[in-house]
Amino acid sequence: MLFQRTIGPAIAFLQRDARHFQVLFLASFLLYGTMALGWDAEWPRYAILIGTVLSVQTLFIRWKRVPWSSLKSALVTGLGMSLLLKAGSPWTLALGAAVAISSKFLVRWDGKHIFNPGNLGIAAAVLLTGDAWVSPGQWGSGAMLVFLVGAAGGMVVLRVGRIDTSLAFLGTFALLEMVRTVLYLGWGMDVWLHRLTNGSLLLFTFFMITDPMTTPRSQAARIGWSVGVALLAFVLSWKFWINATPIWALLIFCALNPVLDHFRKGAVFQWTSSTPRTTTPLRTN
């Protein structure tokens, strides 16, 4: 009875749009981090990020006349940035969030935006201000994280049909790490596992690189593209000792998207398949 009246409709609501899952999971990760992992509970920081993405999205909704449901995408971007981006000043965060959302409307090619908004927002805040940073160690490493992020991410990714992206990225990265860490350097398997079960890497794998709007349209191109991101992230981390390399690799590969889409056509992604397609050429969420 209770199930039918409350949980049933709740699940039906979640299933209507993959972004509902994303919001639910990202928000629970945020709660988990602040409550269980002892992060500084910086609610003002989250409020600024989420507030800014929603306001900027609203501005563009009015200007470009896109559906109001695109606010969900902005919320996903805001939550994702809250999990990753840290800064000393609120202005830095606002800048990152504003860049993230505006890029969706201003940096476009062939009917879709080029950059992963959260990714670009983080990169902009870090590169432009010198006041922002990403803490790759904030999740720690562990089998528990694989299960949590993997299960939750799997739900979303399966629904939006981007499991190929996640698997190609993580598989390539794991393989390269295996070759380098275990086979070449001679560290034990535990070192390899510790590197791979890093929470930030998993979060990236299931919640950032999989954004259906900024991955190539055809599956073949998508797999090649994910392998490329993994390869670049790997090289950057081992050759140059840069931290949080997947973020930088993704930024560079997003810029290649128009080229890939030019050669390998595919269907434009729609978040809600049940609703009829809008005839406006400008779907921007």
Partner: protein, 505 residues
């Protein structure tokens, strides 16, 4: 409290001209400085790094691509047995190696160590303030003695002696090797005690193109220094790699060991990239009797926090902008004199002094207890722009003294009773100490109340507010498991529904 005063005055400063404002500000600042010592508690004791037995101390300075590492060489044993092998990213030149005064370690330790502070309540019947402060600093240093001589032999073991220096009391070699067996054999032949399992670490280091900074003591030269204590060695190099190799040291010991890292940067905190960096519990009110045993208190607190977080985190104990010219408060309260340009220079911070550009200096103290099982990777760090201050601080509050028989005095005593109750709970939560024997701490307050008020007070049986202070604190297995099981439930439910939906379609 002082901040409130300042904020209050601020509202009318808008109407004043800049000059007056400046004076007013200076005046307020002076007031603030004067009163802060009175209001913000006195430093009573500190829990310095010497408390922890199997420990090492490292000063880590990072400026762009340059890293300056100072190792304390706090060796507990015969000096002649001292030998150290440190993987380094490049072949060091002689000018990259120097000896520093070991006092810099005790100074940085004293300045940044967790602190116990003490407040005094006012007597609500006769408002007056009485302050006292008490310092219990016992400095223990293990004396070490004796000597030996190192003989370097180059063998056909795939080991190359890249460089050889005599610096102070130390004989230093920089080795590179092609494979671990030869290196291990060479080290053993030359009197370095290398554990059997060392090769599993040496191989990866060799493959990572690391060099080996190998140190022994020349006892005759040590005697020239007029002391039998080894002095810290400082090395500097330019490399992308900002890390501390801990795996080699782990090969030596089965259990866990402690390391305290004093890190300095231009911008902000240093944090670990491949393990979580977590703050130690701070700003907790604890019972007065902890004053006599603050050392054991912090030791147990640290051990408990370490367990609670899953034994695989790096703890932050202190983070502060310590720029000599920095106007703000340096600590609250200060445990030792702040580092001066001379100490900064000794620590390797070559930009701190007024003659060297006078940039910002940010001080981070990290404390890590590591063991083989939970720390498979070497520690990798990053410099962040995070300039937020942090200190590990524990607070004692002395009760009001004098006659408390007036009505508000009786209310105060009742409040005091509850406060002490919470202090005991906090103590138990932080350290796990058995506090059932500490009922006297409550009773002495209860006894001062008339029987009718006394009878209404709760006895100490179970904590009033369990969890506060963290039995089930951050990262505890309980929380993690609850969360994981909850998510599993949701996921299963969703999968089930999805399947149904597909089946019905």
């Amino acid at each position: 409290m002082d901040v409130l005063h300042a904020a209050h005055h601020h509202s009318f400063t808008n109407e004043l001209n800049p000059m007056t404002m400046r004076y007013l500000f200076l005046f307020l600042a002076a007031l603030l400085a004067q009163r802060s010592s009175a209001f913000c508690g006195f430093y009573v004791a500190r829990a310095d790094a010497t408390l922890f037995n199997d420990r090492s101390e490292v000063i880590l300075v990072r400026d762009g691509q340059r890293t300056i590492v100072t190792m304390s060489n706090d060796f507990q044993g015969a000096v002649k047995d001292f030998a150290m092998v440190v993987p380094v990213p490049v072949v060091l030149r002689q000018q990259d190696i120097r000896i520093v005064d070991r006092r810099v370690f005790s100074m940085l330790d004293a300045y940044s160590s967790p602190r116990l502070v003490e407040y005094h309540d006012d007597n609500p019947c006769y408002p007056q303030v009485v302050y006292e402060s008490l310092a219990e600093n016992d400095d223990m240093r293990m004396p070490t003695a004796n000597a030996s001589r190192m003989k370097a032999e180059a063998k056909d073991l795939g080991v190359t002696i890249e460089a050889q220096y005599a610096v102070g009391e130390y004989d230093i070699l920089i080795l590179s090797a092609t494979e671990s067996t030869g290196l291990k054999q060479w080290l053993i032949q030359n009197g370095y005690r290398i554990p059997e399992s060392a090769h599993e670490v040496l191989d990866p280091y060799i493959r990572s193109n690391l060099k080996f900074f190998v140190v022994k003591v020349d006892v005759s030269r040590l005697q020239l220094t007029g002391s039998n204590l080894l002095r810290p060695i400082q090395i500097r190099y330019d490399s992308h790699k900002f890390m501390l190799p801990i795996r080699l040291g782990m090969a030596n010991s089965k259990g866990s060991q402690d390391m305290v890292v004093y890190a300095f940067t231009r911008t902000g905190r240093v944090e670990c990239v491949n393990y979580r960096t977590v703050k130690v519990p701070t700003d907790r009110n604890i019972p007065l009797f902890v004053k006599q045993k603050f050392g054991p208190f912090y030791k147990d607190l640290f051990a408990r926090a370490h367990r609670r977080e899953g034994r695989n985190v790096v703890f932050l104990e202190y983070a502060w902008n310590v720029t000599p010219s920095f106007g703000g408060m340096k600590c609250d309260p200060c445990v030792g004199p702040p580092p001066m340009p001379r100490e900064f220079a000794e620590a390797g911070v070559d930009w701190g002094g007024p003659n060297s550009g006078g940039g910002q200096v940010f001080f981070t103290r990290l404390h890590v207890r590591y063991g083989r099982e939970k720390f498979p990777q070497d520690l990798v760090f990053q410099v962040t722009p995070n300039a937020e201050h942090f200190q590990a601080r524990y607070v004692l509050t002395n009760p009001a003294s004098g006659d408390l028989s007036c009505a508000s005095g009786q209310d105060y005593l009742e409040e005091l009773y509850y406060r002490r109750h919470r202090e005991l709970d906090e103590l138990q939560a932080l350290t796990g100490w058995d506090i059932t024997k500490r009922q006297g701490y409550l009773k002495e307050v209860g006894d001062r109340l008339p029987p009718e008020r006394r009878n209404g007070l709760p006895e100490w049986t179970l904590p009033l507010d369990p969890g506060d202070g963290g039995n089930a604190g951050p990262g505890s297995p309980d929380v993690q498991w609850t969360f994981a099981l909850g998510s599993l439930l949701i996921v299963l439910l969703l999968l089930f529904r999805l399947r149904n939906a597909v089946a019905h379609r």
